[in-house]
């Protein structure tokens, strides 16, 4: 089966062009509005958790606050530090902003995936997906875009020619690449159970609750992925890139006005898109919860409703984390990423691969046997490793000892 969007496979018609432009425009407008609402929602919910009122002047419940902030930033005077690098300083906002948008392109935003349907809809006689594009390597595309955002942070900090942004940027890029390793390894577990890199196909394989990758891969890859994306997004408790108390505003200290607004927008848009990626990979995306069929609504729209409901849960979780957890210290952050998340993700992935290979039916007794063997092999190899370390240390001491005794005085 071709894992690409079937739109236009029957040759080019003006309707397919129209649908394509329509999809681009709709996703564009929806993503911008969703981001503005997200910024407002975060401020409102966090202020609720802090027992204060939050924005309440612009529009009903302050809902127009982000728009008002945007207009203010738009008319604000900005100036570039004289020591900054002019080209990179101007390039950095684009490098943050465009990848943030592009991740939307591969997330399935709706469509009927129930009972093994492939989630396509028919508009004007053209068969297409409720998703901008469905490349065969959709997941790699997400990883690639989140990597480009690292360039945005790094270049913004470096090009400013100032100390706080530079500190924020080197911290941030080291943090982001560290957690990206864990992110990739937990993702491999999803690929193992779904057998495809295409996002639509991954959703399609999760057609009942036990097939959701959250359950099918065990809960561990999901937990690692959630932690790693939080770090990747520089959200609290991993917001060392900004760390207001020590670095003023981190990598974007020297940006003002609309350029700062673009960084801000990209940051919040990344929160929404990465939540969408989590929902797609682990919670079945537009698949209904527990097979519930909402009456009187066509399947494709129903998919969008389920997707948005699942998305809102994760957006709330991110805001909740921000209001609850204190920031990590930098050494704790790096230790956690390299010494906990990466080994656990790798070990879990190998266990899943062994289970997949040696107990394909997934019966409990088989799975238990394979798991037991894996654990025994794992413990044995760690024991061997420590034994080897002991031997090499003893040999080194023995080699060093006679030299000291026999050295001429």
């Amino acid at each position: 089966m071709l894992a690409i969007d079937p739109l236009g496979t029957g040759g080019w018609l003006w309707t397919s062009l129209l649908i394509m432009i329509g999809k681009v425009l709709v996703i564009f407008v929806v993503s911008l509005v969703a981001t503005m609402l997200m910024i407002w929602g975060e401020r409102k919910i966090v202020s609720g958790m802090h027992n204060r009122v939050g924005p309440n002047k612009a529009g009903p419940w302050g809902i127009m606050q982000s728009l008002a902030d945007g207009i203010k930033a738009f008319f604000k005077e900005t100036f570039r530090p004289s020591k900054s690098d002019p080209f990179l300083y101007k390039l950095a906002p684009y490098l943050m902003f465009i990848p943030a948008f592009l991740i939307w392109a591969v997330i399935p935003l709706g469509g009927d995936f129930t009972d093994g349907k492939d989630g396509t809809v028919t508009i004007f006689g053209q068969v297409t997906r409720v998703q901008l594009a469905d490349p065969q390597v959709g997941i790699l595309f997400v990883l690639a875009m989140s990597s480009i955002a690292v360039y945005g942070v790094m270049l913004a900090g470096w090009a400013s020619g100032s100390k706080y942004p530079l500190l924020g940027a080197v911290r941030g890029s080291a943090q982001m690449i560290s957690y990206e390793a864990a992110l990739g390894l937990s993702l491999a577990a999803v690929l193992l159970s779904s057998g495809s890199l295409s996002t639509a196909r991954i959703v399609q394989t999760q057609d009942s609750f036990v097939d959701w990758n959250l359950v099918a891969t065990g809960i561990v890859p999901f937990a690692i992925f959630l932690v790693a994306t939080t770090a990747e997004l520089n959200r609290p408790p991993f917001d060392l890139v900004e760390a207001e108390q020590e670095l003023v505003s981190g990598f974007n200290t020297e940006y003002g006005g609309i350029a700062f607004a673009l960084f801000f927008l990209a940051e919040f848009m990344n929160v929404i898109t990465m939540s969408g990626v989590i929902v797609t990979l682990f919670l079945g995306g537009p698949q209904p919860i527990a097979g519930i069929d909402i009456p009187f609504i066509p399947g494709a729209i129903e998919g969008t409703i389920w997707f948005v409901l699942k998305l809102l849960v994760f957006l709330y979780v991110y805001i909740w984390l921000r209001a609850t957890l204190p920031r990590l210290r930098y050494d704790q952050l790096m230790d956690f990423g390299w010494k906990v998340l990466i080994p656990v993700a790798l070990g879990w992935f190998l266990l899943l691969a062994a289970l997949r290979q040696f107990s394909p039916d997934g019966t409990f007794a088989d799975s238990l046997r394979v798991t037991a063997i894996c654990v025994v092999v794992g413990i044995a190899s760690i024991a061997l490793f420590y034994a080897a370390l002991q031997v090499s240390r003893r040999n080194r001491e023995r080699a060093a000892a006679p030299q000291q005794e026999g050295s001429p005085v």
Partner: protein, 144 residues
């Protein structure tokens, strides 16, 4: 044109005419949507930045353009040296990024390669894990 199984899988049958009249594969045409989206994002970013630059007030002065350093005059260069440890982490990251590149295609097709594939990948992963264990034992992961 050579047409193997791989070519058919990737949709490289050049049958449908592309949007500029040239012929384009289905595989590539799927990315065309992404390109359009990128152009739209570039346009909105450029429009916002350009329009704001045109209408906002601008009265630059030497004092305004000094780099921010908590309100005092900046000391020394803005581009100060940073710790070598960041570099070590960047190198280690490359190991795991390369690992992911080889891991993903295998993970998506685990049935096709069977037990042989599992053992081979196990050897590969253990070899790369060696690098992490070595760095760990040498204390390179310790952030002082």
């Amino acid at each position: 044109m050579r047409r193997g199984i791989g070519a058919a899988e990737f949709g490289r049958d050049f049958t449908s005419p592309g949007i500029f009249g040239a012929r384009m594969s289905d595989f590539l045409r799927d990315y065309l949507n992404v390109v359009w989206f990128a152009v739209a994002a570039l346009a909105i970013g450029g429009l916002l930045l350009g329009l704001a630059a045109a209408i906002r007030p601008s009265f630059p002065s030497a004092e305004k353009n000094i780099a921010y350093e908590s309100g005092v005059d900046p000391v020394g260069m803005g581009w100060s040296q940073s710790q070598i440890r960041y570099y070590v982490f960047a190198l280690l990251f490359v190991i795991f990024d390369v690992e992911a590149v080889f891991l993903f295609p295998w993970a998506a097709n685990i049935e096709r390669y069977g037990t042989f594939g599992l053992v081979v990948m196990l050897i590969f992963i253990v070899l790369l894990l060696d690098g992490l264990v070595y760095a760990w034992k040498r204390g390179l992961l310790r952030w002082v």
